[in-house]
């Protein structure tokens, strides 16, 4: 099915490329995952920044959501799964919880992508706000379930608000990145 409109999200169906082309392509696809990886490593280091423990999942969640609906080839489900697992291993959340929640966020972005892409930025932000709030509440609920007693809600809300706040600057950065990459691809 060599339909030119499909090229953007089905990168395998393309004319044969040289090795350097392929390497460059691979690097571009890995860029968002590498970014998240770097954020996880950097923000789990003992830096004297306030709220750093909540900022890391917030940034990762916003990044995963953005790439899931704008360019799923840059953020495949497998990468999301491993990112979540990595986050669990590095942080102190129960093993697998972050992976599960990030996959849910990714799934929402992926299945609603055609609707989301057509939306105005503010509306997309609103959708993300709802998703982030839901994800944080789900994480809190799971944590409560595993500890078998009620935990404090304010840190969860703080994390949700941080994710909502982190989304616009991150989306500006990634939009600029997408323009640059697309411009290069057309050259």
């Amino acid at each position: 099915m060599p339909d030119p409109s499909m090229r953007a999200w089905e990168p395998e169906i393309q004319p044969r490329q040289t090795l350097s082309h392929r390497l460059e392509h691979g690097a571009r696809h890995l860029l968002p995952s590498l970014f998240c990886m770097l954020v996880i490593i950097l923000f789990s280091a003992p830096l004297p920044l306030p709220g750093i423990a909540e900022l890391m999942p917030a940034i990762v969640m916003a990044t995963v959501f953005f790439w899931s609906f704008w360019r799923p080839s840059g953020m495949p489900s497998l990468a999301v799964f491993f990112l979540g697992l990595f986050m669990d291993l590095v942080g102190f959340t129960p093993l697998g919880v972050s992976a599960f929640i990030l996959l849910l966020v990714h799934g929402v972005g992926l299945y609603a992508r055609f609707g989301l892409m057509r939306m105005h930025f503010l509306l997309a932000w609103g959708v993300f706000a709802l998703v982030a709030l839901g994800a944080c509440l789900l994480q809190w609920g799971l944590a409560c379930l595993f500890r078998l007693h009620m935990l404090d809600l304010p840190p969860t809300l703080f994390e949700a608000f941080l994710s909502i706040g982190a989304y616009p600057p991150l989306s500006a950065l990634f939009s600029w990145l997408l323009h640059r990459l697309d411009g290069k691809e057309q050259d």
């Binding site: 280091a45 497998l78 291993l89 129960p94 093993l95 697998g96 992976a99 996959l103 799971l142």
Partner: protein
């Protein structure tokens, strides 16, 4: 790559997400069931990442150190500029002082000035803060063997501390100027007016018996007076401070609450004994008459 048709590949692609979700739920359950395993995996990952974290925290520490150093350098530059101007100022004062000293010397030569004898002194360490009948007294490790005598004057590094009241062979008790038994004749340096400085066991002794037309001025220097003959004139004591209206006290220069070393000066017979006037018969030996207020001042009377 295995050659499969696009339809199958798309179908597989749609299955990836649910499968991964199930897998993560499985991991959650396994992690809850076997916490030791989860912790072990966590430790392996942390071990692997520790070089990165070390790198990050080292970079952060270096950055903080560099920033601190830069701030410190800025502060030092400001301090340096301040010190330079102060140094220039002081150099000017030094020149003034040298020229004044020369002028003073030449004037003294011209006037055939008789020089005062330089006082002998010993320095001792303060070992105890209290003792004896006084509330504000210290014990000094220097006694009669070192030449310390009753009535000698103890100076701290920058001002008068007190007087020797009792001496042993290797120790001497010094009554501080803040003790309630201490009453010294002093002179207000600005107006040359006499006053009495009365200790009251507080850190700042009171000023009393000053002339009503020459009241102490806030910040005025207070020095010793040779009126009773107990002290040579002009030893610095402190500055005038008003704690309330009409209640002047002296803030001593010496830090009397933590004395460490004291110099004990022997000014000799500072009181000038007047020669016998011909035709005048003294009622008592003159030195005894001179000694009386001196002993009173030492708190024995």
């Amino acid at each position: 790559m295995i050659p499969v048709s696009i339809q199958i590949r798309q179908a597989l692609g749609k299955l990836v997400l649910p499968l991964l979700l199930l897998l993560s739920i499985g991991i959650i359950i396994v992690g809850q069931a076997d916490r030791k395993l989860a912790d072990r995996v966590r430790m392996v990952v942390a071990d692997g990442l520790s070089p990165f974290w070390t790198l990050v925290s080292t970079t952060q520490e270096r950055t903080v150190a560099i920033a601190t150093n830069l701030r410190e350098a800025g502060r030092l530059a400001r301090e340096n500029a301040r010190l330079k101007t102060e140094n220039e100022n002081l150099r000017r004062w030094y020149d003034v002082a040298v020229s004044l000293t020369r002028e003073n010397d030449s004037l003294k030569t011209a006037l055939h000035w008789i020089p005062e004898p330089a006082p002998a002194f010993v320095t001792g360490r303060v070992v105890a803060d209290t003792g004896g009948i006084y509330a504000r007294a210290v014990l000094l490790v220097a006694g009669t063997e070192s030449g310390v005598e009753v009535g000698n004057i103890a100076l701290a590094s920058n001002g008068l501390a007190g007087r020797v009241t009792e001496t042993g062979a290797h120790s001497a008790r010094i009554l501080l100027i803040t003790d309630i038994a201490s009453r010294l004749p002093v002179m207000l340096e600005g107006s040359h007016a006499p006053a009495i400085m009365v200790g009251d066991n507080s850190p700042m002794p009171r000023l009393m018996y000053y002339a009503q037309d020459t009241r102490p001025v806030e910040g005025e220097r207070v020095v010793t007076s040779d009126q009773a003959g107990a002290f040579p004139a002009g030893l610095p004591i402190g500055t005038v401070h008003y704690v309330s209206e009409g209640r002047p006290v002296v803030a001593p220069f010496a830090q009397l609450d933590h004395l460490n070393l004291l110099r004990v000066f022997n000014f000799g017979h500072s009181q000038v004994e007047p020669p016998d006037a011909p035709g005048h018969v003294p009622l008592a030996p003159p030195h005894k008459a001179q000694d009386l207020p001196f002993k009173n001042l030492l708190g024995q009377g």
